[in-house]
């Protein structure tokens, strides 16, 4: 693999117990990854519907990496952290990192039902869905790849 700058590391929850998962770029591996979101959601007693929201956001982040990133290592790196004041955790945070070609985050056009139905531009909803379903989302992208950090409170 070519040398590149490392991804910026600013763990918002340093010290929180982390579970890291690396999945290959392959069909339906995004669903395999959601099993971990499920297990950690249950670990902090997050409700079923919120866990489903987290799982869909994770699916969207993974399929973006699969489809758009052209990663060099053919992998997507996911880190799960739980934390908060109470022992068992108050939030679940997921970082999805690909070492792909990145994109201009400011240049992404916002989707709308009108564009979708009237102009028949049906794609382009992934990032919007992620932002709608998670409580906090940070997206960073550059030549080193793309990193989405998202958090959901119980």
């Amino acid at each position: 693999m070519a040398q590149r700058d490392p991804a910026p590391s600013q763990p918002t929850a340093a010290g929180a117990p982390a579970v890291s998962l690396t999945i290959p770029v392959a069909p339906e591996m995004e669903i395999v990854a959601t099993a971990q979101a499920d297990a950690l959601g249950e670990y902090i007693d997050m409700g079923r519907d919120k866990i489903d929201e987290v799982k869909l956001a994770l699916v969207e982040a993974c399929i973006n990496a699969f489809e758009h990133s052209h990663t060099e290592d053919n992998q997507v790196h996911i880190t799960f952290r739980v934390g908060g004041r109470r022992e068992a955790g108050e939030w679940l945070e997921i970082e999805v990192l690909d070492r792909g070609r990145g994109f201009d985050t400011a240049g992404v056009e916002s989707p709308s039902p009108q564009k979708t139905f009237e102009e028949r531009r049906r794609r382009g909803w992934g990032l919007h869905i992620i932002k709608s379903l998670m409580d906090e989302v940070q997206i960073e992208s550059g030549e080193w790849g793309t990193r989405i950090l998202m958090r959901k409170y119980k």
Binding site: E28, I31, F117, R120, R123, S132
Partner: protein, 118 residues
């Protein structure tokens, strides 16, 4: 790989009822679309999609369902969804699918609604 969505269809007069089971991604969406177009070709006036055994529909899957919805509208037929989890319901609303397709809590309600004389 049994995550792949299974689709079954039953015809009741001019209503076709679809049941999905599992993850709806591009593949699952295309499977649904194939079945839907074949029912429209066979004269279905209404399609009901019962998603109660599906917990995740990704944005690519939804984009295909939107394509199906557009075809349904072109044919002056109707499309109704039922059995949506709160998350799927929310996503359908965000993407505007709920503005053009009807959403009912249960299959019975969907069936009564699409069978009612216009």
């Amino acid at each position: 790989m049994n995550e792949t969505c299974r689709v079954s269809v039953e015809r009741r007069g001019d209503v076709a009822v679809f049941w999905t089971d599992g993850y709806i991604n591009n593949q699952g969406g295309e499977e649904i679309a194939r079945e839907a177009y074949s029912e429209l070709d066979r004269g279905a006036r209404a399609l009901i999609m019962n998603l109660e055994k599906t917990r995740i529909v990704n944005s690519i899957g939804i984009s295909i369902l939107i394509e199906v919805l557009e075809k349904v509208m072109e044919r002056k037929a109707v499309l109704a969804f039922c059995g949506l989890t709160p998350t799927i319901d929310k996503t359908f609303r965000i993407m505007g699918l709920a503005q053009y397709a009807a959403i009912y809590p249960t299959e019975d309600e969907a069936f009564r609604a699409v069978s009612a004389p216009a």
